[in-house]
Amino acid sequence: MKDWRYWLAEQRGTLLALGIFIVMFVIYTSNHPAGFTANVVQTAANKGVLLAFVAMAQTLVVITAGIDLSVGMIFLLTNCLASWLVVGTPMQTTLGVIAVLAVGLLCGALNGAIVIYGRLQPIVATIATGAVYYGIGLLLRPFPGGSVNEDLADALTGRVFGVVPASIVVLLAIVLVIWVPFSRSVLGRAAYAAGSSETAAYMSGVPIRRGKFAAYTLAGLLAAIGGLFLTFFTYTGEAAYASGNSYTLFSIAAVVLGGVSLFGGKGSAIGAIFGALAFRTIGDLLFVFDFDPLWQPLFQGVILLVAVSLGAFALFRVRNRLEWFL
């Protein structure tokens, strides 16, 4: 087999997500009253990028065959924190941004430590730490409010050269700075190997613990970047339980749409990003078709249900019935 065919087979999920996104986005913009303009793209990008960051965070953990049900709450917590810290002079703002990112990193590291060194199941552990993060967020912002350095916020949510949405540029930069080095490093490989088969990885001397720990920690960082961006868009911090929960839920949907295997070891954050953008676009389709907004939760739920059910097609490839029961 040629090299490019291997590459194609490996990237099938990502390319499928890209395809879905392009089709959905074309439908969206062609039915949008304003059409395909820089403004429409900017608004869509700003909404999509939020979910894309959270979905990237979820991807890192899912690759290790775990799950992080606290990403939405880290996202909320960092949003609340940023609404206090990211203000003032450029110097103060910079320090604030660093502090917010550090808190996200810490939250992720705590999840990782509990799951890996505490040997608790990721589901239960992250639901519980999610409650803690939400509690801290609520402590910081009992009522919605706060402010943010508006110059920075406008710069990062505006447009570069009047055309390209700045948020997309930032997303690209984050991918290049965090995801690409991680996935090519020993730790990244260890995370994949641990998700694929932990025993085999251990036997081969792969540093699975460090790899998984790095994945959880970076997931916290990415969720914090998402929280920072939420603050830039809304100019406020708010500890809304339902919002945190739905971001966790949507991040899983985006990961599934993006071709990342929930059993671990397969997929990429790039796929999850396109999955997130596609999911957001699908949710917004209702608006351009003038549906009652009341139907949006149901519509998104049904899409989620259909998306996860698509995984069932793998059953047709099963040759031995015993493979049903992993």
């Binding site: 409650a131 803690v132 609520l138 339980y241 939760p297 739920g301 989620l304 996860v308």
Partner: protein
């Protein structure tokens, strides 16, 4: 006759204690500790009225946790609890609006709606082999969407029927709240099913190794599906009781029951990987969680502090005895 029975019980007590799961013992020890701490804080903490009130509040969680335990024993999880609870409550209240027949069928209808959610979960997990965590999150979102469309974005004004209020707050036996009796009945049925029926043994078998259970000639997929349907039904029944307790259904009423129900089951020593756990542990977990919540609210802890303490306590207790064995 009675003497031999007594002697038999006394003779078996030490073995019973010796055989008891350390997790269950720890959970009960924590209950005693909480009661002790509570009594230091307030004298009325140990009064029978207060304890009975706690037991009544615990029974709502107990009913929901019973279904959750069945699913966790299979090695799966049911994250659709929040909206199964809300859907059960809202649909039961909605049915009551359709005349006397509706009032009579309100409770069964609510439970039926919950079971429908459970059946969708079950089909997804058992037949389509979708990870339970994912499919139940998805059905939760769909149930939420359906309820939002149904209510038109407003909180439903339909109030609970008399029967629902009677079940949740009445006293069929003087001194014992009906909700506690219902929990006891459901718990007894669960213990019977788990220990005395082939279905129950199959649940443990699947939790240990589904492949082995399948090769033993068990229709494992049907069992998984039934377990999810039961879980959905019990969640909805819990919602019906809650609606009776609060006299009306609300959209977010189920949100506060997802984490506690999982925590109660896991703190009670049931392995989250499935196949191991006793109902006694779940009872201990439910009472433990309820007491913890009660103490925090008696101390007038704000919501933020409650969430933090809650999460920390769960992680700490799991680190005490819920850890997976060291690999290799």
């Amino acid at each position: 006759m009675s003497e031999t029975t007594l002697g038999g019980i006394a003779g078996r007590m030490p073995r019973f204690i010796r055989r008891a799961d350390p997790a269950v013992l720890t959970a009960f020890a924590c209950i005693v500790l909480l009661l002790f701490l509570g009594s230091l804080y307030s004298r009325s903490f140990l009064s029978p009225e207060y304890l009975l009130q706690q037991l009544k509040v615990a029974s709502f969680l107990g009913v929901i946790a019973t279904g959750m335990m069945l699913v966790i024993l299979l090695g799966q999880i049911d994250l659709s609890v929040p909206w199964a609870v809300a859907a059960g409550a809202m649909m039961a209240c909605a049915a009551a609006a359709y005349g006397p027949v509706g009032v009579a069928l309100a409770i069964p209808f609510g439970i039926l709606c919950g079971m429908l959610i459970g059946v969708v979960n079950g089909i997804g997990v058992a037949y389509l082999r979708i990870p339970s965590m994912i499919i139940t999150l998805a059905t939760n979102a769909v149930a939420q969407g359906l309820m939002v469309v149904y209510t038109g974005g407003f909180s439903p004004q339909d109030s609970a029927t008399g029967a629902m209020r009677y079940l949740a707050t009445g006293f069929a036996i003087p001194g014992v709240p009906n909700a506690v009796i219902i929990w006891a009945l459901i718990g007894a049925a669960m213990v019977f099913v788990l220990t005395r029926t082939s279905f129950g043994r199959t649940v443990y078998g699947i939790g240990n190794r589904e492949r082995a259970a399948y090769l033993s000639g068990i229709d494992t997929r049907r069992v998984v599906m039934i377990a999810f349907a039961v879980s959905g039904g019990l969640s909805a029944f819990g919602g019906v009781l809650l609606a009776g307790y609060a006299s009306k259904a609300a959209q977010s009423m189920g949100d506060a029951y997802l984490l506690p129900s999982i925590a109660a089951v896991v703190l009670g020593g049931t392995s989250i990987l499935g196949g191991r756990g006793s109902y006694l542990g779940t009872v201990a977990g439910v009472i433990l969680i309820t007491l913890l919540q009660s103490i925090l609210s008696v101390m007038q802890m704000p919501e933020a502090g409650r969430q933090i303490i809650y999460g920390v306590v769960i992680v700490a207790m799991l680190l005490l005895y819920g850890r997976a064995p060291a690999s290799r």
